[in-house]
């Protein structure tokens, strides 16, 4: 087993096409930014997907602003895990983020769910996408109090 995630034998790598198809089925993902000498920043956001661009609104914290302006690596993760059926998947987009100009004319519905003002619209441009399906063997026993006793 050389997989960096150490996942089980039921794992199945997803093609880029399948990764983006699955991304398009979801509306919430997590944006992650590497911070030098610290743990990465991870924040959930609601997003829209347009032609492999992940677009969302933000109020810019210090770290995320620095990442966007400095064109530092940004990742975006989305998953769907159904513990009842023991199926799931996870997709990770790695790339850079930049501000979107002129988005008002694009017709995008970009209302952020969080209530504060979110004046900036940002897109994550994909350099690399990876994803995997999780099957029964991986997910068995994830639920609290399942049949271990």
């Amino acid at each position: 087993m050389t997989d960096p995630r150490g996942a089980g034998a039921g794992d199945e790598e997803l093609t880029p096409t399948e990764c983006f198809r699955l991304l398009g089925t979801q509306v919430v993902g997590r944006v992650a930014v590497a911070e030098p000498g610290a743990a990465p920043l991870v924040v959930p956001v609601n997003f829209v997907l347009r032609e492999r661009r992940i677009i969302f609104r933000t109020a810019y914290g210090t770290t995320f602003r620095a990442a966007v302006l400095g064109e530092r690596p940004v990742s975006f993760q989305v998953d769907e895990i159904d513990l009842d059926r023991e199926v799931g998947w996870s997709v990770l987009v790695q790339g850079r983020a930049s501000e979107v100009d002129g988005w008002e004319a694009s017709g995008l519905q970009l209302q952020a769910w969080a209530p504060g003002p979110k004046p900036h619209v940002v897109e994550v441009l994909c350099d690399q996408v990876s994803g995997r399906r999780l099957h029964g063997n991986d997910l068995a026993g994830w639920r609290s109090g399942s049949a271990h006793l």
Partner: protein
């Protein structure tokens, strides 16, 4: 009447550590965020809150190397309802250590992280929080809140 603290930048309610621990205690899936080759890597893992710490399992020779190199990791748990646009997110940040050989098998078994006995390569990792942050989406029409200075 509970006073709410609102983060002015994001418009989100700031959760106390006690609230964060309660939310972590009723969740079983989180996302571990590390940095690999300068890029954030984020993937779902099955976990248990154990006191103030987070315990998850992985397989030997894989993710653990990444954890050691990274020093500190971020662990994010959320629950966001696409219908009501409400939800919360908790992020735990701190160093993560392989505890498989250091702790009693019985105490690890009590966490019920998987069917017992574990596979031969299974390792357990404990994340000791340096920081626990939580946010919740609330409606600004809620009558009672104060601005975070």
């Amino acid at each position: 009447m509970t006073m709410r603290t609102i983060d002015v930048r994001t418009g989100l309610e700031v959760l106390s550590e006690t609230e964060c621990l309660l939310l972590l205690g009723r969740s079983v899936v989180g996302r571990l965020a590390t940095v690999r080759d300068g890029r954030p890597d984020v993937f779902p893992v099955n976990f248990r809150r154990d006191g103030r710490t987070i315990v998850f399992r992985t397989d030997a020779g894989t993710k653990l190397d990444q954890l050691g190199a990274a020093g500190v990791v971020a662990f994010e748990v959320d629950e966001i309802d696409p219908q009501s646009h409400t939800g919360w997110s908790v992020v735990v940040v701190g160093p993560a250590h392989d505890i498989t050989d250091d702790e009693e098998p019985e105490s690890l078994r009590r966490l019920r992280l998987e069917p017992w006995p574990p596979g031969p390569k299974t390792r357990y990792v404990r994340l000791e929080p340096e920081r626990i942050d939580g946010r919740r989406i609330v409606r600004l029409t809620d009558a009672h809140y104060r601005r975070d200075p």
